[in-house]
């Protein structure tokens, strides 16, 4: 199986690579559209600030490639947010895969949310063998509201989307690569698609 992590200079790619290695697979980093298109599974990572990450994506032309992909694609954290229509962070237009606008938590709660939170109303093959209310690791200031592609929810200030799915596109707000054995199972479910 050929797993490609999109390399556009944004994020904690090493941890994802190692998490995949712990599952017995090897992932390749690439920003080459042909390599990405030919992969069996594509991972779209992202850590940092949205507008600069989007600029990097545009600079490589990958913003046009990602929405056209036909194989399973997993966006993680900021990767998931950039797959949405828009994010309030840096007033940034996203890739428009998920029809939702990403908002910021208000200061009625501590921002960023850092730590382990439960996921529930699980509604995707991504969560095969995962129980309701399992814990995942999150670190974020912006969130995708609940909408028709929501496949997992968490509560922080309000109920929001911790995972999205539309066709072959999957997104997790949490970091499966840092979410202990639960995260490993979710990552394995994605790689088994």
């Amino acid at each position: 199986m050929k797993i490609v992590i999109i390399d556009y200079g944004a994020g904690n790619i090493q941890s994802i690579k190692f998490a995949i290695k712990r599952l017995g697979f090897t992932a390749e980093l690439s920003n080459d559209p042909e390599v990405i298109k030919a992969a069996d599974k594509v991972i779209f990572p992202g850590v940092g600030e949205a507008s600069s990450a989007m600029q990097k994506l545009k600079a490589t032309g990958l913003h046009k490639i990602v929405p056209e992909l036909k194989q399973p694609v997993l966006g993680i954290c900021l990767g998931m947010q950039l797959m949405c229509n828009y994010t309030a962070e840096g007033d940034t237009d996203g890739l428009g895969i998920f029809d939702v606008s990403v908002k910021r938590f208000t200061n009625t709660v501590k921002v960023p949310q850092i730590g382990w939170n439960t996921i529930e109303k699980l509604d995707s093959v991504l969560f095969k063998d995962i129980k309701e209310q399992e814990y995942v690791y999150l670190v974020h200031s912006y969130y995708a509201p609940i909408h028709e592609t929501t496949v997992a929810r968490s509560y922080y200030e309000l109920e929001y989307s911790t995972a999205l799915q539309k066709d072959n596109f999957y997104g997790t707000q949490f970091h499966p690569e840092k979410s202990s054995t639960v995260g490993a199972q979710i990552l394995n479910n994605f790689l088994s698609l």
Partner: protein, 252 residues
């Protein structure tokens, strides 16, 4: 519901754990990677590695260690100690650290916080603050508490937040090593002062101390070293007891 976090801290010198550790389960108690993996398995929510090496090779040794930890450990970890530049942070994050913590370098040049946040994002920049009381006033200290500054703890915490840090790791030098409990009054005032998560550090001696720092200090996370390393408190026992007391915990 988000849980409170339990964070073992490993002091590192030249790529090895410093404080003696007493684990029969480990082949090599001085190997930070083995110890970290054991903590992850027994339910630690996060780990902090604090590097106290003073050699010229320290940057490379620490970067290598981070890579080895990231390979084996499936929970988040923070790295601190002697970090003073964008280049220092870049290599640690690139090798798999989730967050870095900066301390003296931020006091000496506060704009470093803004620079790191602009480059890497708030979520991975923790500012560690060591403080102790002088004439009833909490003053920020440097070099592990040896050098006093005129900075007020709460003013500095506010500034750290305004400059974009994602989290504060507050160590009370008055409590550190005493095993008499955390600095809960100062912690409670800190949580009223800023709106970013606070990690409490210094003073953990028993399970009640952890419960108190979450209930009275409103800390988001509690960090400790020796009580875990010497197995005076076992993480599963601690988390079960805190959960019983109504404090949200991730039980494994």
């Amino acid at each position: 519901m988000i849980t409170k976090r339990i964070i073992p801290c490993l002091d590192i010198k030249n790529g090895r754990t410093v404080k003696g550790v007493n684990f029969v389960a480990l082949r090599d108690a001085g190997d930070p990677v083995e110890l970290a993996a054991l903590y992850a398995k027994t339910g630690a929510d996060e780990l902090v590695f604090l590097d106290i090496s003073a050699t010229e090779e320290r940057r490379k040794t620490l970067a290598d260690l981070v890579l080895r930890v990231a390979e084996k450990v499936n929970i988040p970890f923070t790295v601190g100690g002697g970090i003073s530049s964008i280049e220092d942070v870049a290599i640690l994050l690139q090798n798999g650290a989730d967050k870095v913590s900066i301390n003296s370098s931020a006091v000496k040049r506060p704009v470093l916080i803004n620079e790191l946040v602009a480059k890497f994002g708030s979520q991975c920049i923790t500012v560690a603050i060591d403080a102790k009381q002088i004439d009833g006033q909490w003053k920020v200290h440097l070099v592990g508490g040896k050098v006093a500054t005129d900075l007020d703890l709460f003013d500095w915490a506010k500034e750290v937040e305004e400059r974009g840090a994602g989290e504060i790791l507050f160590t009370s030098m008055d409590h550190d090593g005493t095993k008499n409990g955390f600095a809960n009054k100062a912690l409670a005032q800190l949580t009223r002062t800023v709106n970013i998560p606070i990690i409490a550090s210094g003073g953990a001696g028993n399970i009640t101390h952890f419960a108190d720092t979450f209930k009275e200090g409103n800390a988001d996370a509690a960090l400790a070293a020796s009580v875990f390393h010497f197995k005076e408190i076992e993480i599963p026992v601690l988390k079960n007891e805190l959960q019983k007391q109504g404090i949200a915990m991730r039980l494994v």
